[in-house]
Symmetry: C2
Subunit: 243 residues, 2 copies
DNA sequence: CTTCTGCATTTTAAATACAAAATCAAGCAT
DNA sequence: ATGCTTGATTTTGTATTTAAAATGCAGAAG
């Protein structure tokens, strides 16, 4: 009984899942569980109760099962035949390692961008970066007209990756999915550091220096990894599970 | 009706699948379909008929469905909601790109091996390489006591990867799975080239030169990618599908 | 008191059944 | 003759049911 409560606390989100267009339910369920894991609602080692998810999302177990297979391939859960799935025991070292790999691939894309990105895209990159570098007016007011940093960051990287070959893009998509991306709120002064990183990357691309672009991107993601691990720690991701 | 014949020609393999221990049927099915794709029995763009596989393997559609999800995550099939799955349209460029990425990650592992591989492992590496370098006595006789090159190759790389961090090993496992690994028989004189590559990698590791090990591994996999694409071509992988 | 064995319970895995969407074809209209 | 619409067929996606494996507990034996 204690297991079901774990999930049902998120019933609000559940309805959002159900409301989606028919077909591709497994994808939705995967997103739901992924979020549960990445936000620390499900701790490493904790069993994934198919029954509970089924009850919580009001979905049969077939799409849940497929979602678990997906998450297994993403490395977020361990799937043992005949004994179900559990949240993967990712260590801080795993997270750092993951981002290091991420950096390798993103570095490759950045190097290619330095050589092949069309001038118009480079210009847009600079424009976006200017928005990104705009200091957040410290007022906590909501609709302050202050930039949506996450969106700008996404677009920045999206443009850089746009000239990478297909398979490289594909792998980047996978690497970005199975890892937290909300460390903006946690790491102290992350925004400023991020701006510095982007500036270095952008400068390298503008001057067509592939090696510099690669290292800049690798360094950026190396530090992002440390920030991500810290964010997970702050969320209680590595809290010992009490039983 | 024409679709089912496509599969039933492989019924021998099908029985082998069924014979396995219970639990984890999806994994077996995935292996079966993966082989069908990698050997060119299913051509790029061709639909994956769940019913046909079900009939051919005498397995219900549930594990087949999960297998398709796996292959989707591996990038071997495209899964479109409500319109089924089809063999991914991998181009030669995709294969080369894939191996380039493979090289990036394996290069990272090799660099680490150059610094951290225990001397005993380095010694075993050398011993394996000596077996590997042994010229295949040109007699086509079967039980000639001539080395199993594929196994030696696997072990060679396995030892190198053994000191890589967990996530890196995990990614390597994924990258190696969704790509042909039988180009030994196709590329002319591949064995000799492979020996040369391994020699260069091994020398770098023995002398503790991380950068040299990395480049050697990257180059090795770059050439492997070209050979793999060639092997696929030779297998008729890119034959226009006739409809 | 401890440990091993066997039964009951729980939960997974696979098979089957059902519903909905998409494709294909034939007929009709233009 | 061509194009569109409508109906039948096929095939997918989801739910439900059934079977088997693992876990936990209880009782008996040492």
């Amino acid at each position: 009984m204690s297991g079901a409560d774990e999930y049902s606390s998120k019933r609000a989100a559940a309805d959002a899942v159900r409301s989606r267009t028919r077909g591709g339910l497994s994808e939705e369920v995967a997103g739901y569980v992924r979020q549960l894991i990445l936000t620390g609602a499900l701790l490493p080692g904790e069993r994934i109760d198919q029954e509970a998810i089924s009850a919580d999302l009001d979905v049969s177990r077939s799409p849940i099962r497929e979602a678990i297979v997906m998450l297994g391939k993403e490395g977020l859960v361990d799937v043992k035949p005949r004994r179900g799935a559990a949240v993967a025991n990712l260590s801080p070292e795993d997270i750092v390692d993951h981002y290091e790999l991420f950096g390798l691939v993103a570095g490759r894309a950045a190097a290619m961008a330095a050589k092949n990105l069309p001038p118009s895209d480079v210009a847009e990159l600079r424009a976006i970066h200017q928005q990104f570098a705009k200091p957040a007016t410290t007022g906590t007011g909501v609709s302050d007209g202050l930039p949506d940093y996450a969106a700008l960051n996404d677009r920045f990287h999206f443009i850089i990756n746009s000239v990478a070959p297909r398979r490289t893009k594909w792998l980047l998509g996978h690497l970005v999915k199975s890892v937290p991306s909300n460390y903006y709120e946690f790491a102290e002064g992350w925004n400023q550091r991020s701006v510095d990183h982007h500036e270095r990357i952008l400068t390298a691309i503008e001057s067509g220096d592939a090696d510099a672009a690669r290292s800049a991107m690798e360094d950026h993601l190396h530090e992002s990894g440390i920030a991500a691990a810290e964010a997970l720690r702050a969320q209680g991701f590595w809290q010992p599970l009490v039983d």
